[in-house]
């Protein structure tokens, strides 16, 4: 991964609404992407991943969409809860030893 970045630094949503977090990447050869969630003072936790042969992958309340044409992926969180408040990173492994390129992160804030 040459550059994996996030469009916006912060996102504020109402509890119960859906959240959409976007990410752009520059390396067209990237074939695998991961979303991580990092709560304050903790290490990042794996949320969901997607391979380049897929356009969409669903998990529990989360969906990742991949648009290879415009090199864009998004993380959708359904019915956002206060516990979803965290910094979210997209990352793609690169190189022979699966090093990860992380974006700066986007902070999701959930309003009660």
């Amino acid at each position: 991964g040459e550059s994996v970045g996030l469009h916006l630094p912060t996102l504020s949503v109402q509890e119960g609404d859906n959240s959409i977090i976007n990410c752009a990447y520059s390396n067209s050869a990237s074939d695998y992407f991961i979303w991580y969630k990092q709560e304050s003072g903790k290490g990042p936790q794996f949320i969901i991943d997607i391979r380049s042969n897929m356009d969409k992958r669903q998990g529990q309340r989360v969906t990742v969409l991949l648009n290879k044409t415009v090199k864009h992926l998004s993380l959708q969180i359904a019915a956002t809860q206060p516990g979803d408040s965290a910094v979210y990173f997209c990352a793609d492994p690169y190189g022979a030893n699966s090093k990860l390129t992380f974006g700066k992160g986007i902070t999701l804030s959930v309003r009660p």
Binding site: Y32, I34, Y36, G41, K42, G43, P44, Q45, F46, D49, F89, P93, N97, S98, K99, L100, F102, G103, K104, G105
Partner: protein, 116 residues
Amino acid sequence: SQTIHQWPATLVQPVGSPLSLECTVEGTSNPNLYWYRQAAGRGLQLLFYSVGIGQISSEVPQNLSASRPQDRQFILSSKKLLLSDSGFYLCAWSGGVRGVSYNEQFFGPGTRLTVL
């Protein structure tokens, strides 16, 4: 199951003092190991990674070094800390477990280092 430990959780050190942060993983064999640093409000920067005992690759020139004396032990060190070494240090592992891809990294709880 696999677990990853880091210690200490927090550390305050004076400029010029040495540093040793330790990371150990359990439940995996021959994992890849990684050290990251995260500045406040920023993303993660990969510092070092290791694919085996004694094998260390440095990603960025810096005041730090890493060692892997045992398969599941990864140490981050410095002889003389700088103010700019302050940050949140994260250790991660990948692979070494059946059914787990080397692409997926699992992070430890981190060490908050403040250099004064």
